[in-house]
Symmetry: C2
Subunit: 334 residues, 2 copies
Amino acid sequence: MSQARPMRNPNMADVAAAAGVSAQTVSRVFRDSPNVSPETRRRVLAAVEKTGYRFNSAARMLSSGRSHTIGLVLLQSGGYYSRAAVTAGVEHAAGEAGYAVSIATIAALDTGLMERSLTKLADQGVDGIVIAVPLLHATQKMADITRDIPTVTLDGSRTSDARVLGIDQQEAGRVATQHLLDLGHRQVWHVSGPDEWIEARQRRQGWEECLRAAGIEPPPPLEGDWSPESGYRQGQIIAMIPDVTAVFAASDEMAFGVIRAMRERGRAVPDDVSIVGVDDIALAAYCSPPLTTVRQDFYRFGAAAVALLLDDAGAGDSVVPATLSVRESTAPPH
Amino acid sequence: MSQARPMRNPNMADVAAAAGVSAQTVSRVFRDSPNVSPETRRRVLAAVEKTGYRFNSAARMLSSGRSHTIGLVLLQSGGYYSRAAVTAGVEHAAGEAGYAVSIATIAALDTGLMERSLTKLADQGVDGIVIAVPLLHATQKMADITRDIPTVTLDGSRTSDARVLGIDQQEAGRVATQHLLDLGHRQVWHVSGPDEWIEARQRRQGWEECLRAAGIEPPPPLEGDWSPESGYRQGQIIAMIPDVTAVFAASDEMAFGVIRAMRERGRAVPDDVSIVGVDDIALAAYCSPPLTTVRQDFYRFGAAAVALLLDDAGAGDSVVPATLSVRESTAPPH
DNA sequence: AGAGCATATGTTATCGATGCCATCTCTAAC
DNA sequence: GTTAGAGATGGCATCGATAACATATGCTCT
């Protein structure tokens, strides 16, 4: 009953010995190889239990060349619900498939930082990378780093070698704008996200197209950085323009910033000005006023990215629908 | 100039050959061994550049037994700014120390799910684990899994073997409550977080103690789940009580839910009722009214957890101060 | 009955970096 | 002038799982 070996963790050979089979067979059991008899499998699993065997992923990685790990590049400045949801979707889908998720955050949208993050993940030997930040300029160096690693870019630029998975963000812009037009507004202003973000540009395009389709020339968009502060700043400008009755903000947080600016200038929401956001964050329904907003299923989006990475079969179309949650920040103009 | 080898990635031996040294010396260069001459180091680094050598972390892990990876256990239901900040802090501090971060999310506070997450991280061979969810009942199985892995529990239970790093959350509760008393309120109600969360209990204790110190018997606290919805529900109850003039909510999101409930019942904030939250989320300053709230530096907290994990030297005390941001949701009673 | 084949299992070499020990060259000190 | 010791480097076994190949058994089909 006494342990002969000192502190060493049990390995496959120990399990094999305990089960009366070869190490190779133990390996087969773990990888669900079809050619293992039920009886042998049972014995091996019993031996695993008995020996307290713990799988050594480094050894597997070294000999098989695959790490069963997916790298996820995130933007450090959190607070964006959509990104958090994407992360959860990625982690869950990866976990289901037996993959681990290793994260690398970047502090800002900078190609140098991005290159460093990709290098870090590549050095870890990840089997695939999900880039969950918008990626405009794919540098040659980035392409070199990811040459042997399948990569999916969420809402990224088409210029990279990576495959791109995108939600139809134009739809979000269209839905929001159309809602305001349907209420009777004759013009809709827009506080956009940073122009480096594909999401921001697509939402802006959806807004523009929707207005043009209604025979309306879009006013110049005002660019924010997703933060409430930026919404507030741009809102202050919009509030100085007399005949504004409707604003579409590219995120909920900016929308609340706009609302605050409007109110400080004596413009009531929604009585004088209607506001629509995007994201449907948890607070949207509970702040004052409850925010009309466009909701998208980012969790599913993250999961789809992993699916695309792991089995390159279908998974091609991933048009996640945009749903409008109508609350109390929008009303007909008077 | 032509490559003799087919598709194989260069390894240390290739670098060693190119530099005219042994593989062992190359290894020493990478690990910053003191006993390498500057000249040799230079030659090796040049050879690395020339061969396009990429470090193989699996091989290092197998031979050294250490993975240079830290596991991070997160709660899947995102949206809590504090958790996002902790994550960023962990990732940054780990990255600075040359460590990768592997995440495992759990969908709910359940010991079974927690055990599975810990197993997953252990199987990856992480060198340390940061548990960023509150952990009340540390099971025997959990202790078994983490026996050989240094673990830090943030705000976790003292019953586990893991080291515990905690912010003084009582301070947060005290600061918030004292602010309301200083304004002249005679009683302060409390919407707490879930009782399983240490943060929630500590904040509640701070609130209780502060009231008792002022000779006030605390009313029964109402328990929420951090979400705006739960704040709204409990706020509806509080709004039915006639003489309530001040509420301390254990999170900003719940605070906004309380505010909504108050307003729907005709109680103005802050004229009739004052509200204080905790977290200082980005929206706190931009919603209506701007929220008075207690801010804590969770980013630093995450970084401190990693420091505690990596060098078991100092890092013992980590009393991150709680700062009150006074805005417009609090006022003297009338 | 023997060829042919699928299924189940064992044997051996290998992945790439590192720990340990050996070796060699200097310089400082008595 | 010899020795001790520090500094710089190389040789070799090793970590644990797996791929590739080899073998053994049982079954089907002509």
